[in-house]
């Protein structure tokens, strides 16, 4: 922690204790020269005592100087150690808290403010961190001076797993007065672990049906339908369909997994929604034409920028418009409306269909994986049961919300609010 000058001389000159000791030795030498032995001895002992006291005194003050305590005027510190220490802590990309022995946060770096929010100076640690496991660790370290680590999972707004480490700042041999609380983000490795088990569970369950039907057709082709070219052709057609379905499913599962991996990183790019929605309309025009649905896009004149990832947002709106085309086909018309941000409310994109609508009890659960309002309808429309789960994941990463309103017989509105 202690930031020392490269140039030792500056420290010599600036250190009043060393100077005092030197003076005492000088006077002691003078006293010795004047045969005042007793005085010389006393003065020498004083000088030695000062020199001996000095390192421990340094040891005790340095952590305080390094603690970036705002109440300490900068001029009192040797050189600009406070500024340098503060800058050094801020430059580290992992969230760090510097706390004192009474569990107050003396300093937090930028990464910590970003991860857990700003705090008032000298706030108690519980204003930001409530997890009993972390608090136990902190207390144990303050009491014993041992380094402690604990794993901490934050589930909202997105899952993040941290390895939290509490370590005392203790110069050799002295009691620590301050402690560093650091957070190492291990979300990725944990999420990968969980993803693998989820993937196996979901895939084995959802892929079993098409696989079983494939097996059935192959057996039929090998046996009873061996010499029936007409039946063979038909079976091969169905088999192709099943394989395509498995393909879509695997694609969706993979894209969901990829999204989960980076769910905790908010996108930093800025995207104009106007050309983006135009692109979505053009891309889906063929599908809409084949289903005999008209897509009406209502856009404002000025560009509407939101923080987001272009490709992911295209995926969101393609998914939503596609759903509207497929499940609102009867309405013949889909309205896509972009409302620019107003005071107190972010920009909104709403996609309205005039189809049969969704029953109330299904609405809150639409974004769950493999949740289908009607299994048969979803299968026949080539749905994987993952479309809205993907939409939800992307929007969570964008810190945006999906609001679904629907009335039976009148249609549904899916609104994305940034």
């Amino acid at each position: 922690m202690a930031l020392t000058d490269d140039d030792g001389k500056i420290r010599w000159r600036q250190n009043p204790y060393t100077l005092l000791a030197g003076l005492l030795i000088l006077v002691a030498a003078l006293a010795a020269a004047m045969h005042a032995i007793a005085v010389a001895v006393v003065l020498s002992i004083g000088a030695v005592a000062i020199l001996a006291y000095q390192p421990s005194r340094n040891a005790r003050t340095e952590p305080i100087a390094a603690s970036v305590n705002e109440t300490l005027p900068v001029t009192e510190a040797p050189r600009d150690n406070i500024g340098i220490t503060r800058a050094a802590l801020s430059a580290i990309d992992m969230p760090l808290y510097l706390i004192d022995g009474r569990e107050n946060i003396v300093f937090q770096n930028g990464a910590a403010a970003e991860a857990f929010g700003d705090i008032e100076p000298n706030a108690h640690i519980t204003t930001r961190l409530r997890s009993p496991a972390i608090l136990d660790c902190v207390r144990e370290t303050i009491a014993t001076g041992n380094v402690n680590t604990v794993e901490y999972t934050e589930r909202h707004p997105s899952t993040r797993v941290y390895l939290v480490r509490v370590a005392p700042i203790a110069p050799e041999g002295s009691r620590p007065t301050h402690f560093i609380l650091s957070f190492r983000d291990i979300s990725e490795s944990r999420v990968v672990e969980r993803m693998r088990s989820d993937f196996v569970a979901n895939a084995s369950h959802e892929l079993r049906t098409p696989l079983a039907s494939l097996q059935g057709f192959i057996e039929t082709l090998q046996g009873p339908a061996k010499n029936d070219p007409k039946a063979g052709e038909r079976f091969l057609g169905i088999m192709l369909e099943q394989v395509q379905r498995m393909n879509r499913l695997v694609d969706d599962l993979l894209s969901l997994s990829r999204l989960e991996l980076k769910a905790h990183i908010a996108p930093s790019d800025r995207v104009d929604l106007l050309p983006l929605l135009g692109h979505v309309r053009d891309a889906l025009q063929p599908l809409a034409a084949s289903l005999d649905v008209e897509i009406v896009v209502d856009l404002p004149n000025d560009p509407v920028f939101v923080a987001g990832d272009r490709d992911e947002l295209i995926q969101v709106f393609e998914n939503l418009v596609q759903n509207a085309c497929k499940y609102g086909q009867e309405g013949k018309r889909i309205e896509v409306t972009l409302t620019p941000a107003t005071k107190g409310q972010g920009a909104e994109v709403s996609i309205r269909d005039f189809g049969p609508g969704i029953a109330e009890e299904h609405i809150p659960r639409l974004t769950e994986r493999f949740y289908r309002v009607n299994v048969e309808a979803s299968r026949s429309k080539k749905g994987t049961g993952l479309g809205l789960a993907i939409v939800k994941h992307i929007l969570t990463r964008h810190r945006a919300r999906l609001i679904v309103q629907s009335e039976m017989g009148k249609g549904s509105v899916f609104t994305v609010r940034f």
Binding site: T126, T127, L129, R130, P132, R155, P364
Partner: protein, 236 residues
């Protein structure tokens, strides 16, 4: 935060209360989330830990109430300070209830364990608990900033949890009608879902208390509600 007083010890006492509330909040959050995890993964050991942790939360509530009463007796607080202290007592009792609900959910893990929770229902339970826990986390974050505006916003969000609970309720009824052998586990799950939904209600209560603590007035208007289970039937 409250203004400082001439007696620093008084400030210390107020600070102690809000610190203990935050700690209780952390404990309650963890219990509720562990209870749902234990339920979904049929993890009896985790459930047992939740059950034993409840004692800590009960003790914390008693401690806060004692300290609050002592402070009232000793300092004769008025206005802001009085609301702050009364608020602590109310929030502590809400958090204690959250712990109880977590404990009750954990107790049912063993009963549900044998038959297991169907995949679709487990996902629904997780979804419901995500909503309720997000509500609880947000409200505890607001507690440290004492923002009346944010407290009001949280209060208006309870609707989402109610809609989700209603949907789960219906699904559980259909499961039971499909096969009477599901009735035991589904009844337990029904209570678990209700427990989780109640956690959301307590979070809303806390939001209202925070609003009152900072402004001195009750938040106006009815609480938004979307819980129709009281009149729900499913045609067989």
């Amino acid at each position: 935060m409250t203004q400082s007083h001439i007696m620093t010890a008084y400030d210390e006492e107020l600070r102690f209360l809000s610190r203990r509330i935050a700690e209780m909040g952390g404990m309650a959050e963890q219990m509720a989330s562990d209870a749902v995890r234990a339920l979904v993964n049929a993890d009896a050991a985790l459930a047992q830990r939740v059950i034993s942790d409840d004692a800590i939360l009960d003790a914390a509530e008693r401690e806060i109430t004692d300290k609050a009463i002592l402070t009232i007796a000793r300092r004769q607080p008025v206005a802001n300070d009085l609301r702050e202290i009364m608020g602590s007592i109310r929030i502590a009792s809400d958090l204690e209830r959250v712990g109880d609900l977590g404990k009750n959910t954990a107790k049912r893990v063993i009963a549900v364990q044998q038959s297991g929770v169907p995949r679709a229902l487990a996902r629904g339970m997780e979804h419901l608990s995500e909503l309720a826990l997000a509500q609880l986390k947000d409200v505890l974050d607001v507690y440290t900033t004492r923002s009346a505006e944010k407290a009001q916003a949280i209060r208006d969000r309870d609707e989402e949890i109610d809609a989700m609970y209603t949907s789960l309720f219906r699904e559980l009824l259909t499961y039971m009608m499909e096969d009477p052998r599901n009735i035991t586990s589904c009844t337990h799950l029904l209570f678990c879902a209700k427990n989780i939904e109640r956690i959301g209600d307590h979070a809303t209560n806390i939001a209202e208390t925070i609003y009152y603590m900072t402004t001195g007035t009750q938040p106006d208007g009815e609480r938004p509600k979307d819980d129709n289970t009281a009149t729900m039937t499913v045609q067989g």
